[in-house]
């Protein structure tokens, strides 16, 4: 192949042990690009939307994009696609690091895992040699132990994606970890892998990726890289401070939820857990994913005290979830909890938010202390770290927290106190203080999520233009464009963070020169919209609940800060959003829209 793809999909039946190498479906690749888009297309063509996410009929698909592994900007990404056991929606989780490119160097655009194995296995891939190998000796091991063991067994130059005991035992927000610290984190895709008794994928490749117009491709890639380098955010800010730099500015607009959102969205101790503090006290060095010129990754260390530890991160979301959301200003404890999430392969957004929800329920007396085993109050760093550890290891009350905040809060009679949408926890921005992000949470195709249409960019950061976070005007239409562009970006295999410094012209440009297309920018963007509608179509068929927000965001006015008195005006925005999408008033894609997108 000379179009960015390498042309082969691996199909692995875990029940029979059959491994097939089939040619990539070119038509699907053209229409759905790759990674999140193409993985979802394969999934939707082959799986029943009503299937049990934790049953044998749920397939698990790893998919790269046409730009993955090339010199495009930050092109180290792959997606893991399956029906999410947490939300029941289509679940596509996106990860960086080095695993995705390596899969392509081995000669595969993606892997489709079918059915379940009757004993633990891992998939060994070394170029043309592909084998299911016994993983009984790895079962129960954490992410770091598994990765080390497989690097010992297969070779130090293999790239490993794996799950830990959390994924094996059905934690509903277990992710798939690759290169130890990088996560296909959200939606519990790791639990799907666990049910399949698939412990890991180990891959090494020595082959090449060819693109359609090499010289031109290289030129547009290097131009895009130069653009990112020249931009103050992607060229300097993100590499200097990492994503934790957001703590102070989001808190600055009064948009960082405190105590499960109960106490508003202004955290007095924000600076203690900020990117500035992390950089000054704990940073060892920056780390970049494959081919990345931004390098937002942090290698960090807590040098002493009860939380002495070393690892990667935390990212802003984890900084908030274990920090402000649990009212904890001890950065050491926050880092330690985050490192544990990496080690055990669970999503720190859902983890921290679930603990915050448990804290609120405990403080109001809804969860009895004997159920937890210790007092779980806001501000108690040791209790927060302990709760994280219990969930990582599936011990005691950790088993209940491992179901996520919605199922936990429902069990104790207060599902309304779960800060989730479609049972997935919303990230680190309050939808009352920042209206557009509330709409994004409500409409995201995988439940509460910020990286399907990152409205924080315009509403807080002023990128590409500043919009007032308190108003709703203009948000629905812009969100639609953001969501479509994000779907396209994810599908190509490059990192969403590149879009802070560049946009559609660069993404479409790299895509065209790689695959050899002469489509216009708009035609390329349409593929993003097609992906979005395909995901929505799946969710409708799966019977996913309607787009809404927790009652707290819709009815409880913010008690303090710049957005005091505000609730999210979802009702107004939703109507406009559906209209912008060409959907009916219930948010169902219309026949006309689907036809226009070649979706029926």
């Amino acid at each position: 192949m000379n179009n960015g793809y390498v042309g082969t999909i691996l199909r692995v039946n875990l029940k029979t042990g059959t491994i097939l190498k089939e040619p990539l479906n070119d038509k699907n690749a053209d229409e759905y690009v790759g990674a999140r888009g193409l993985g979802t297309k394969y999934y939707c063509d082959e799986c029943d939307p009503k299937c049990d996410p934790l049953g044998p009929d749920n397939k698990l698909i790893f998919m790269t994009g046409p730009l993955t592994g090339t010199a495009a900007t930050s092109a180290g990404r792959y997606n893991a696609v399956a029906k999410s056991p947490l939300t029941g929606t289509i679940g596509a989780a996106n990860s960086g690091g080095h695993f995705g490119p390596e899969l392509k160097y081995a000669g595969y655009d993606g892997i489709i895992f079918e059915d379940v194995s009757d004993h633990p296995v891992y998939l060994y891939i070394s170029d043309d040699t592909v084998e299911l190998r016994d993983a009984t000796h790895l079962w129960g091991k954490d992410v770091f132990e598994t990765t080390d063991a497989l690097n010992e067994e297969c070779g130090s130059n293999f790239r490993i994606a794996c799950i830990s005991a959390a994924g094996e035992t059905g934690c509903l927000f277990a992710g798939i970890m690759n290169d130890k610290h990088r996560a296909a984190g959200r939606g519990g895709i790791g639990a799907v892998m666990g049910v399949k008794k698939l412990k890991a994928v180990a891959v090494k490749g020595t082959k090449s990726i060819f693109v359609a117009h090499p010289e031109k491709f290289f030129e547009v890639c290097m131009d895009a890289r130069a653009k990112l380098k020249a931009h103050p955010v992607t060229g300097a800010g993100l590499s200097a401070y990492g994503t934790m730099i957001l703590v102070n500015i989001v808190n600055g607009v009064g948009g960082m939820p405190v105590a499960n959102g109960r106490d508003g969205a202004c955290y007095a101790d924000a600076d203690d857990i900020s990117g500035e503090s992390l950089t000054a006290k704990h940073l060892i060095r920056n780390k970049g994913c494959f081919g990345c010129s931004i390098g937002c990754g942090r290698l960090t260390e807590i040098k002493s005290g009860p939380y002495k530890s070393q690892g990667e991160g935390p990212e802003y979301e984890a900084g908030w979830s274990f920090g402000a959301d649990c009212k904890i200003n001890d950065l050491g404890a926050v880092c330690d909890a985050n490192f544990m999430c990496n080690q055990y392969g669970i999503d720190p957004i859902t983890m921290g938010s679930t603990i915050a929800c448990a804290m609120e329920l405990y403080e109001m007396g809804a969860i009895p202390e004997e159920d937890i085993g210790f007092p779980l109050r806001f501000g108690d760093a040791a209790a927060m770290v302990k709760a994280t550890e219990m969930t990582c290891k599936g011990e005691g009350f950790g088993k209940i927290m491992g179901l996520g905040s919605y199922r936990m809060a429902e069990k104790y009679g207060h599902p309304e106190l779960s800060m989730s949408v479609k049972k997935q926890e919303m990230p680190a921005y309050d939808g009352r203080a920042i209206q557009g992000i509330g709409l994004e949470y409500a409409t995201s195709n995988r439940g509460g999520c910020h990286v399907r249409g990152y409205m924080i960019s315009p509403e807080v950061l002023g990128i590409p233009l500043a919009m007032d976070p308190l108003v709703t005007e203009g948000k629905p239409a812009l969100l639609k464009t953001f969501q479509d562009l994000t779907a396209l970006c994810d599908a190509t295999g490059i990192c969403l963070f590149t879009t802070f410094g560049m946009g559609l012209p660069e993404i479409a440009g790299m895509y065209r020169e790689a695959v050899g297309s002469d489509e216009s920018d708009e035609e390329v963007l349409l593929k993003g919209e097609r992906i979005w509608n395909l995901e929505k179509q799946f969710n409708v068929a799966a019977g996913v609940e309607k787009d809404t927000l927790p009652p707290r965001l819709l009815r409880e006015k913010l008690p303090n800060g710049p957005a005091e008195g505000k609730v999210n005006e979802l009702h107004t925005m939703l109507k406009e959003y559906y209209a912008a999408r060409g959907w009916d008033e219930e948010g169902i894609p219309t026949k006309e829209k689907l036809t226009a997108l070649k979706l029926n």
Binding site: V233, G237, G462, L496, F500, P562
Partner: protein, 93 residues
């Protein structure tokens, strides 16, 4: 009023501190000028676009949690009780 600085604006080349209490001044423009006198040219060039007609491209200024773009821009009036936060443009997520 209280003025807070973030990220590299805390470095010695710029404000050299996290926070400063500043005597009253009429508006953001005056505050920018006064702080520039105190912190020097580099701070000035970050804070203002050329000609001091608007804010620099790499800076975000909030008054009581509201970006000045949504108030009266560089002419946003200031009161003694105000909290002014000055950020470089940042992103993450």
């Amino acid at each position: 009023m209280t003025v807070k600085f973030f990220a590299y604006l805390r470095d010695p080349d710029y404000a050299g501190c996290r926070e400063i209490t500043w005597p009253g001044c009429a508006d953001v423009l005056q505050l920018g000028r006064e702080l520039s006198t105190r912190f020097g040219q580099k701070f000035h060039d970050e804070f203002f676009a050329e000609g001091e007609t608007e804010l620099g491209e790499r800076v975000i200024v909030m008054v009581n949690g509201r970006r000045v773009e949504f108030l009266s821009g560089i002419h946003t009036p200031l009161r003694d009780a105000d909290l002014i936060q000055i950020f470089p443009v940042v992103a993450g997520g």
